[in-house]
Symmetry: C2
Subunit: 232 residues, 2 copies
């Protein structure tokens, strides 16, 4: 059966960095499902126009097309109920809270840390699109938006305190084994890791140790990811 994922890529088509696509790739791996990823770029709207979406991830699973990472997770859970991504109804609901915490609280701080590094990994056509859309949203250049990022790094790390404290008493956010709420946080940090060489986490941070375990999971799916070069 045809199973394909449109996955955000850089100038190097092997460099994949979308936090939302990483959630989906980890979810597919969690379910033990193989997928062919199709590199997609911000300006490739035409390539996914037939799906009705202007963004990735987009999953083609046989006859089904599913857009949006949350909808994909729900679809996978229904279509492939073994190895649950959520667990009981309460766990699914609390996973929703985790998603909202990451998107409302972690993403803005993470963007300040790394958004200026993103153009260096993008394909030429995407650079102009990315700068124009983001600089309009921020009301300033990417450079200005990130100008205080060194000073903000301690606050970024402190923002992750609830993750850190939770990991002091359990191996994963979802308990003894990782599940979708882990992949939501993982996606954010893997995004940063793929586009930037900034050391966002201290090496002795329990969050680093958890990230290492997830990078090694599923035959090192995350660890094998192509990252921006150290000289970029």
């Amino acid at each position: 059966m045809r199973r394909e994922l449109f996955d955000l890529a850089g100038a190097d088509s092997a460099l994949r960095f979308s936090p939302f696509c990483w959630r989906t790739r980890m979810a597919l791996a969690h379910k033990g499902l193989r997928v062919t990823t199709i590199p997609w770029r911000f300006t490739d709207k035409a390539a996914i126009a037939h799906t009705g979406s202007t963004q990735v991830p987009v999953l083609i699973d046989g006859e089904r097309t599913v857009v949006d990472s949350s909808a994909i997770a729900d679809y996978l859970e229904q279509a492939y109920p073994e190895r649950p991504l959520f667990g009981c109804d309460a766990a699914r609901a609390l996973t929703g809270f985790m998603r909202n915490w990451v998107e409302r609280c972690v993403f803005p701080a993470l963007v300040e840390q790394i958004v200026v590094d993103i153009p260096q990994v993008l394909a030429p056509a995407d650079v102009a699109y990315f700068r124009a859309t983001r600089e309009k949203r921020f009301g300033m250049s990417l450079e200005a938006y990130c100008a205080s990022r060194d000073a903000s790094l301690p606050a970024f790390r402190e923002l992750l305190a609830p993750v850190r404290v939770t990991l002091a008493s359990q191996a994963y956010l979802c308990g003894a084994e990782p599940a979708y709420a882990d992949y939501i946080v993982f996606g954010a940090l893997q995004w940063a890791r793929c586009v930037s060489r900034r050391e966002l986490l201290a090496l002795d941070d329990p969050v680093s140790h958890w990230l290492d375990r997830l990078l090694d999971a599923y035959d090192g799916l995350g660890r094998r990811a192509v990252r921006v070069g150290p000289e970029a």
Copy 2:
């Protein structure tokens, strides 16, 4: 069977305001368990010395004594498994994340909003204890600590964005019905509500509507709570 809860009280012994005790009272109500609450004050260390704790809540359940709100929730879930407080293992783990988010992110902002109002509800002996311990911790007077609270109120409300966004798509943080993660957030807001007349939430905030539903739950256990008077 004897079931008693040592519960933090103000000068008015009917005024109960501990966020941790409110978690426990809601958890007991969730389980359908009746309890006799014993008013306890910060300086009543002797009254609970036999339990090994210096803080409340302390639950006496027949022959068992359990201290600490999280330990009490775990105990109740094990001893009275009907009407689960958590759900599956992942839900329990994610409830731990919620607790850490509330305690690390919400409490500090909430303390800035309300801590200066707390002495007005305390018994005389507690006022000196409370001021001394908190002012030492903050390195300043309670008044100084709360001096910018009006300016900080929008940021406090924004801090609750992950709760607000989650409640846009589900009735409770735990889904269609409330469970312990809801009571953790409830406890924080009920604490504020009992010691302060500040309007921390906008009336049209979905968080207010959720709080209203929880205040009405269990025969209005939370709604019936004695609050500080409007003239205090």
